[in-house]
């Protein structure tokens, strides 16, 4: 087991003929992800890397039984691409595109929720279940199959953390990049619950950053619903207020959304917060040992 993606994932790539779409299609395929179709309006009938291309997601799903879609289209078109995937009947949509207008995401997240379709992103690196499926742009070679679930608002910081875990021999069940935008699909609460219910996940790493109060709400959720050990890290302790730190959602506004508040919220419920990335493997080991003793 694992969460969201595995060897039963049948993937359709929206924007497969684009620069990023075709590059990462070959990377995902090389990892062993089962890519069944691509979509590029006006290019139906072509093949990319031996994968059939369709004009619409609906055609692709009908012809191939794709159950998951990944989106690589330019940001102005990404909101519509998410709606198209949601309407076509896949179970999970992952949007990699960065810079999608917030109101497009408001519309897309609400529509997919009504359809019962899960969304990850936008502005995210995707996700990976090591040894089974890579659905995204993460560098596959740093991952190791194991029993730690990881979720993060940041891409490269995730790689840094995973690299720390892997070099210390701690493998991962599934790693999910939830994205850096203010309005995004699945967030901490939903993913915490999925990891809680996954028999192959024994501990959870949560990597947050400044902006919003999702970490504070995650802490509340952990207190009420999560029995597995959780370890956290918050980026942006030195970020100045009122400035967007690269990610659209990473901003301290009106004095709230600071790293200090988030760290305090986790520590108040007994979730240890690493002050440096290098502390993460030690904390995870400690938590796992504590759990196996009790």
């Amino acid at each position: 087991m694992s969460i969201l993606v595995n060897n039963k994932t049948h993937l359709v790539v929206q924007g497969i003929t684009g620069r990023d779409g075709s590059f990462h299609t070959s990377k995902m395929k090389a990892y062993g992800t089962n890519i069944v179709a691509g979509v590029s309006p006006g290019k139906g009938g072509l093949t990319v890397e031996g994968i059939p291309v369709f004009n619409t997601v609906e055609e692709a799903v009908k012809a191939t039984n794709a159950n998951t879609s990944i989106i690589f289209v330019p940001a102005p078109l990404a909101g519509d691409a998410i709606l198209e995937a949601g309407e076509a009947g896949v179970e999970l949509v992952i949007c990699i595109s960065e810079g999608v207008p917030t109101l497009d995401m408001v519309k897309a997240t609400n529509y997919l929720k009504k359809k019962g379709v899960k969304l990850i992103g936008a502005n995210c690196p995707g996700l990976i279940t090591p040894g089974e499926a890579l659905v995204g742009i993460l560098p596959a070679n740093i991952f190791l199959k194991g029993n730690v679930g990881l979720m993060s608002r940041s891409g490269t910081l995730t790689y840094e953390m995973v690299n720390q875990l892997t070099t210390h021999g701690i493998g991962q069940s599934t790693c999910v990049g939830i994205g850096g935008d203010p309005v995004a699909g699945l967030y901490y609460q939903e993913l915490l619950q999925l990891f809680e219910d996954d028999p192959e996940t024994d501990a959870i790493v949560l990597i947050g950053e400044i902006g919003g109060d999702a970490e504070e709400r995650a802490a509340q959720y952990i207190k009420e619903h999560i029995t597995k050990p959780v370890v956290a890290f918050i980026a942006g302790q030195t970020a100045p207020p009122g400035k967007r730190m690269g990610h659209a959602g990473a901003i301290i506004s009106s004095g709230s959304g600071t790293a200090a508040e988030k760290i305090a919220a986790f520590e108040a419920i007994g979730v240890p917060v690493a002050r440096r990335p290098v502390e993460i493997p030690t904390l995870v080991k400690e938590m796992l040992e504590k759990r196996s003793k009790s």
Binding site: A75, P76, G99, V100, P101, T102, L103, D104, M105, V106, K107, N110, P125, I137, L138, P139, I142, S152, R153, S154, G155, T156, L157, T158, Y159, E160, N163, G180, P182, V183, A184, I207, E209, I210, G212, D213, A214, R217, F233, A235, G236, Q237, T238, A239, P240, K243, R244, M245, G246, H247, A248, G249, A250, S254, G255, A259, R275, R276, P277, V278
Partner: protein
């Protein structure tokens, strides 16, 4: 992106939301001329893109032309939180008997537009939120329904008993939501929304912020952008695919990815150093970006050492290394550089760096500590 009060009210006015009779002025002469044509008293208000104008003395009531001139002389050119006032809004004074707050923004939690309304208008809403959060009524707007009349009525009845005011408020709230959607706003605020002595609702002030991701489809809004000095630098960086925020420290940081860039700053601080900036060179593998990034870092004279921290995913470490070597060929760099490369093509990248005789470290902790050591040595 932010705009001035007078620009927000111009947009309100286009949607037939009542505002004061007003005119924006750039000189004292224009203030006098405008005031001469208005009924007294008038209010002279600094137009700067920061909050707290009133407290800083940037808003004055004038009962005569002379007082208006004096207010114009005082406010034009004054400094509010580091910004020089270059224009003032001169508005006809309004007699009113009640002040309210209404605002729309994005609620991350419900992933929807949220409408906020309060009877405690005319003061900073953040203060109300702290002192008396129950005084702020919040309504989540279903994006499929938009601002339905029933929802606008629900909100209006929280603020008003008089049905004539409720009817005016319903009309105003529907228009305000439409403005939010039409302009891709991230914040629309009227504070205060007043009830005039004649019994009419009127927007006495206005504030609008916009979603930067949507500016590509809002050319009229983008044309209103007036970036300050720091923001000009940030925008220039953005054009080159870099995300840059200047800070006050001495250690210039070049990182790929926003989260890792923040974590790098945090680590520098953890070991006792001061980061000079946030700089995310993004996810592509273009050596030119590294050249641009080096130029940007070195343009800050406070920078005493450059720390490069790359974890390659899409970004390939050998491309970063090649870009760095090119940058060093093109420009005179007389401060130390510390390089850490991990991930995609790190080995090839490190070989290029070693050939260029640059110090190489293995982890971001080592990089931060080495940068701090070199920084202390050069002071």
């Amino acid at each position: 992106m932010k705009i001035h009060e007078y620009q927000a009210k111009e947009i309100f006015s286009r949607y037939a939301i009542p505002i004061t009779t007003e005119n924006v002025c750039y000189t004292v002469d224009e203030v006098v001329k405008t005031a001469s044509g208005f009924d007294m008293p008038v209010v002279v208000k600094a137009q700067v893109l920061v909050g707290g104008r009133g407290k800083a003395g940037g808003v004055k009531l004038a009962r005569s032309i002379d007082e208006a001139r004096a207010a114009g002389e005082q406010i034009l050119g004054m400094n509010i939180k580091g910004l020089t006032v270059e224009k003032v809004l001169v508005a006809e004074g309004i007699r009113f008997n009640a002040e309210y707050y209404v605002g729309l923004t994005i609620d991350r939690n419900t992933k929807s537009v949220i409408f906020m309304a309060s009877s405690e208008g005319g003061v900073e809403i953040e203060e109300v939120a702290k002192v008396n959060p129950n005084a702020i009524h919040k309504f989540i707007i279903d994006p499929d329904l938009g601002m339905s009349p029933f929802m606008a009525r629900k909100i209006a009845f929280k603020l008003f008993n008089d049905f004539s005011l409720v009817k005016q408020a319903v009309d105003l709230f529907i228009k305000l939501y439409q403005i939010f959607i039409d302009t891709d706003a991230s914040l629309v605020e009227i504070n205060p929304l007043v009830v005039t002595d004649e019994g009419n609702l009127l927007a006495l002030d206005g504030k609008m912020n916009f979603d930067d991701n949507a500016l590509f489809r809002q050319p009229e809004i983008e044309a209103l952008n007036e970036p300050d000095e720091d923001e000009v630098k940030e925008l220039e960086a953005k054009d080159k695919g870099l995300s840059y925020i200047r800070l006050d420290g001495t250690i210039g940081c070049m990182v790929n990815g926003a989260g890792l860039a923040m974590a790098t700053m945090d680590l520098v601080k953890y070991f006792g150093g001061q980061p000079a900036n946030f700089l995310d060179i993004g996810g592509s593998s273009n050596p030119q970006k590294v050249v641009d990034a080096m130029n940007l870092l070195l343009s800050d004279k406070n920078v005493k050492v450059v720390m490069i921290n790359i974890f390659g995913g899409i970004t390939r470490c050998d491309d970063v290394a090649r870009g760095l070597v090119t940058a060093l060929d093109q420009m005179k760099v007389d401060i130390p550089i510390v390089v850490r490369l991990s991930g995609t093509n790190a080995r090839q990248g490190l070989e290029i760096i070693k050939e260029a005789n640059l110090p190489v470290v293995n982890t971001m902790s080592e990089a931060a500590q080495e940068a701090i050591r070199l920084c202390a040595a050069c002071q």
